[in-house]
């Protein structure tokens, strides 16, 4: 049974983070730059929360006076579920499914050593299966006035 450790080995241990005071706008810019869906919110060495695209989408409507200049602490989620490197891929998938989350930080000896996303999980599950993606490319595309793809 695959362990989280193996997923980190293939994806790397980069974790992108912000502080509770970082603005939502800056956090979103970092996420866009790195192509990720969530950032960990760190206060020194402690994880104070996690901010994801879902938090942004949901809380835009529920927070009074919502604006991008607000600190990420106003919209982040906590508590943060985490896993350890020796836990199984299956446990990780179970937590994601039951808690409805797409990102889980990985902790070892109290230290943040990586983060696993639901995409990392799927990628790992199909890693040894080769697909001719070209054959699977089925898409619809609508024309736009601005000529965007």
């Amino acid at each position: 049974m695959a362990q989280i450790r193996q997923i980190l080995e293939s994806k790397g241990k980069d974790v992108f983070w912000v502080t509770p005071e970082t603005s939502i706008e800056k956090a979103l810019a970092l996420m866009a730059e790195k192509g990720i869906g969530a950032v960990v919110v760190m206060q020194g060495e402690t994880i104070s929360g996690i901010f994801s695209e879902r938090d942004f989408a949901r809380k835009t409507l529920t927070i009074d006076g919502f604006q991008l200049a607000l600190p990420v602490s106003a919209v982040m989620s906590k508590p943060v579920y985490f896993v350890k490197p020796d836990q199984s891929l299956e446990e990780c998938m179970t937590i994601m499914t039951e808690k409805h989350i797409r990102h889980i930080p990985v902790m070892e000896a109290g230290k943040l050593i990586g983060i696993v996303s639901i995409r990392d999980v799927i990628k790992y599950l199909i890693a040894d299966k080769n697909f001719e993606i070209l054959e699977l490319e089925r898409f619809v595309s609508s024309q736009t006035q601005e000529g965007l793809p």
Binding site: L28, G35, H100, I118, K129
Partner: protein
């Protein structure tokens, strides 16, 4: 071999849709209410795009004078990858991973008949893993008695 139609049979084929003129505010409200991460954008019976949490998170910071009252057509993704009912779950996983999408509308001929998410796929995979372990346990039990 699990196919998309098996997943739809279990989760249902409810499709939550909006039009390209629906406001971002209303789209987000619908997503929150239905507890989903994306909506199919349908104009007069045709699928013209998808609007997801990612579209919102990525594009809000690049649109000058952004307002929640803007129509989703300003943020939606127009090139929509979709699945067909006979497609296997593995194939869905490949498309989701490689094209970086978390939702695939399901089309039968050109009719939108459902939506499948990365969460549905993970849930199903877990279910099958569990069944395999249960089958294995039964097998061991039978052979131990």
């Amino acid at each position: 071999m699990t196919r998309v139609r098996d997943i739809l049979a279990e989760k249902g084929n409810a499709i939550w849709t909006i039009t390209s003129q629906t406001s971002v505010r209303d789209a987000l409200a619908m997503m929150a209410e239905k507890k989903i991460g994306a909506l199919a954008v349908v104009d007069t019976g045709s699928l013209v795009g998808m609007f997801s949490e990612r579209d919102y998170a990525r594009k809000v910071i690049s649109i000058p004078n952004f307002s929640l009252d803007l129509p989703v057509e300003k943020l939606m993704t127009r090139r929509v990858f979709f699945a067909i009912p006979e497609q296997t779950m593995d194939e869905c996983m490949a498309v989701m991973t490689q094209k970086n999408v978390r939702h695939l509308p399901v089309m039968d001929e050109s009719i939108l008949i459902g939506m499948i998410s990365i969460g549905d796929v993970v849930k199903r995979t877990l279910f099958e893993m569990d069944n395999r372990i249960k089958d294995l346990e039964e097998y061991l039990w039978i052979h131990l008695i």
